[in-house]
């Protein structure tokens, strides 16, 4: 488990509710995305993060709007947790000109600087070196902004991870490296690709703190993210957080999971963090079942509105191929 965190911050009731709100927003958005794909209304590769909601939700409540994230193809949950508006998000997934990327990037390259969603990459590991650049900018600007680099367990075995963590540590950059360890890299089990039992242990090789976190426990993620973000804002440098979780829907939509043991998956789904956290909020009197149901309904309405909006948007004109290649439009 590498290091154990000393003084653990814990979220107050309002913050816990905010974490839950983000988790539900992710879950509803994911569920309805898969529904739209099944209905053939969206045609695009989709990498569901169902099961991983806790991680970006408990982190995002600690981030300001101008804090930044760099994420990956499996990153829509990270964006939704960062409160990226759903209408332009959906318009993009639907390849419409009103999409955040005018339909040019699609789900794997969603970008929305206004909410701090700076880069979404389809290349394993590449969110990390770029996140360092935003960290450097924060130092130059003298702000207390932090940047979160999200990546997977498999990505911890590629060169970009190593170079990025080393540079971030030498330069004391305000970057938090968040590994969402769901136990699989496409179809490869963690231990068949990774030489260390806990990715967090690698932090020691970069002289930075590293923690293995229960990625399905919002309070554990919150406590560790709080420490990492404080450290970054204080100018003390980066932290590596390994958040252990599970992806319920396999690697990509349509994945038949042949490579994983049925029981393993069943057990994970059995331990679904969402209903568990919901029950905790009710038990602790943070919110009533009715209030939470109302919240869910509101969010579902928001997602459906975004879908309807997106489906009604125009497709981009072919001239878009000549735009945004360079600042100056390429002549026809």
């Amino acid at each position: 488990m590498s290091e154990t965190l000393q003084n653990r911050a814990s979220p107050d009731a309002a913050t816990q509710l905010d974490i839950y709100r983000r988790m539900i927003r992710i879950e509803r958005n994911d569920d309805l995305t898969r529904q739209q794909i099944r209905r053939g209304r969206i045609t695009a590769p989709y990498y569901s993060a169902r099961g991983q909601e806790c991680i970006p939700s408990a982190i995002s409540v600690l981030l300001n709007n101008d804090d930044k994230i760099c994420t990956i193809y499996r990153g829509i949950h990270d964006m939704v947790a960062k409160d990226m508006p759903l209408r332009p998000l959906w318009a993009e997934i639907c390849g419409r000109v009103d999409g955040t990327c005018k339909g040019k990037g699609g789900p794997m390259h969603l970008t929305h600087p206004e909410t701090g969603v700076m880069v979404t990459t389809g290349i394993v590991g590449s969110s990390m070196p770029i996140a360092n650049g935003f960290g450097w900018a924060a130092l130059l600007d003298g702000t207390k902004q932090v940047t979160v680099a999200y990546f997977g367990d498999g990505a911890s075995n590629i060169g970009a991870f190593h170079e990025a963590l080393n540079l971030a540590s030498v330069w004391k950059l305000p970057v938090i490296f968040v590994c969402q360890n769901n136990g699989f890299a496409e179809h490869t089990r963690y231990e068949n690709g990774t030489s260390v039992d806990f990715i967090a242990k690698r932090a020691a090789g970069y002289g930075m703190p590293g923690y293995t976190v229960d990625g399905n426990d919002p309070l554990d993620v919150y406590a560790h993210a709080h420490a990492a973000i404080e450290r970054a804002r204080a100018g003390e440098g980066p932290t590596l957080l390994e958040c252990k979780t599970f992806r319920f829907m396999g690697h990509v939509f349509g994945d038949n999971d042949a490579y994983m043991a049925k029981e393993e998956k069943a057990a994970a789904i059995e331990a679904d963090p969402l209903p568990r956290f919901r029950q905790k909020l009710i038990d602790d009197g943070v919110a009533s079942a009715e209030e939470l149901d109302a919240l869910t309904a509101r969010i579902e309405a928001e997602v459906n509105d975004a879908i309807d909006y997106a489906m009604a948007c125009e497709f981009p004109s072919d001239d878009e191929l000549r735009r945004d290649v360079f600042a100056e439009e390429i002549p026809a």
């Binding site: 045609t43 695009a44 590769p45 993009e92 390849g95 419409r96 990327c101 339909g103 040019k104 990037g105 699609g106 789900p107 794997m108 390259h109 990459t121 389809g122 290349i123 394993v124 590991g125 498999g154 990505a155 075995n157 590629i158 060169g159 970009a160 890299a185 496409e186 179809h187 490869t188 089990r189 068949n192 690709g193 990774t194 042949a258 490579y259 497709f315 981009p316 072919d318 878009e320 191929l321 000549r322 290649v325 390429i330």
Partner: protein, 339 residues
Amino acid sequence: MSTDTLEAPVVETVKMNGLQAINAALSEAMEADPKVLVLGEDIADNEGGGVCGVTRGLSTKFGTSRVRSTPISEQAIMGAAIGVAMAGYKPVAEIMLMNFTTVAMDMIVNHAAKLRFMSGGQSQVPLVIRTMTGGGNQTAGQHADFYEAWFAHTAGIKVVIPWTPGDMKGLYLSAIQDPDPVIIIESVKTLFVPMDTPVNQGPIPLGKANVVVPGSDITIVSYGQMMFTVMQAVEELTAAGVSVEVVDLRTISPWDKETVLASAEKTGRLLVVHEAGRNFGPGAEIAATAQEVLFGKLKAPVGRLGAPYCAVPFAKKLEDAYLVQPPEIVAEVKRLMAI
């Protein structure tokens, strides 16, 4: 469509797609030669036998010491393949998609392609790099590029882009036994489209183009999944009374100058069509060579069609506009023929 050159006798065929053809090639090669190895991400059966199933069954049949799934570490994959090749094995190393070759370019360009030369012939790197790419599935800017021009410009590595399943099998059989590095770029479309394929397709020599359709008015040179588009255009052109000779280049480097130039000289017109970007693309080398060798012998300038100067877009509508379509080919042919 038969994959044999025109002279060859018509042979018995079966319907097979690219996945099956490559799987058969790898299986036969491993069966016949214990030095043949396969490595890459998710390629063993425990990991599903490859993201598309190309390598399915191989690890079960030949063992995981010869068919190894790897971490997501393309530099390590290429490095291991280069070393084991220098030690006398014949590895087939998979880089899942062509855009991911960008993280392994040092191993491929500075090492695999150069070690024989830099060592004065002491080192041999009989390596096959398998990779896949191609537009049409809305995988957007980082999953569909054709970068064969980079490798064709790099001395010491051969570049193969098969179109039909039969060619895939035949070219793989040759590449695996080739004493030098070969990168084979698989077109996504071909992997899933069943086509008539010669029963027990044997090796097809590298560096030989295939005259798929004979014609007399104009020569169209293309390769990979773009051949599907070309064939559609040719149907329309034939109907319009234009006699097109279609040459499937198959090997981009070293390319078959003899066949291409002989055809262009015969028809007097040449059009190169590829999915790769037009600017500084593979078509430029073919056009530059043709204008030199056939100076004064061509009835029209050599035409080139390729992707516009931008990244592969996501929206279906934009992706369709990005990819060369049959009407563009028809129009370009008519322009070159001044009809």
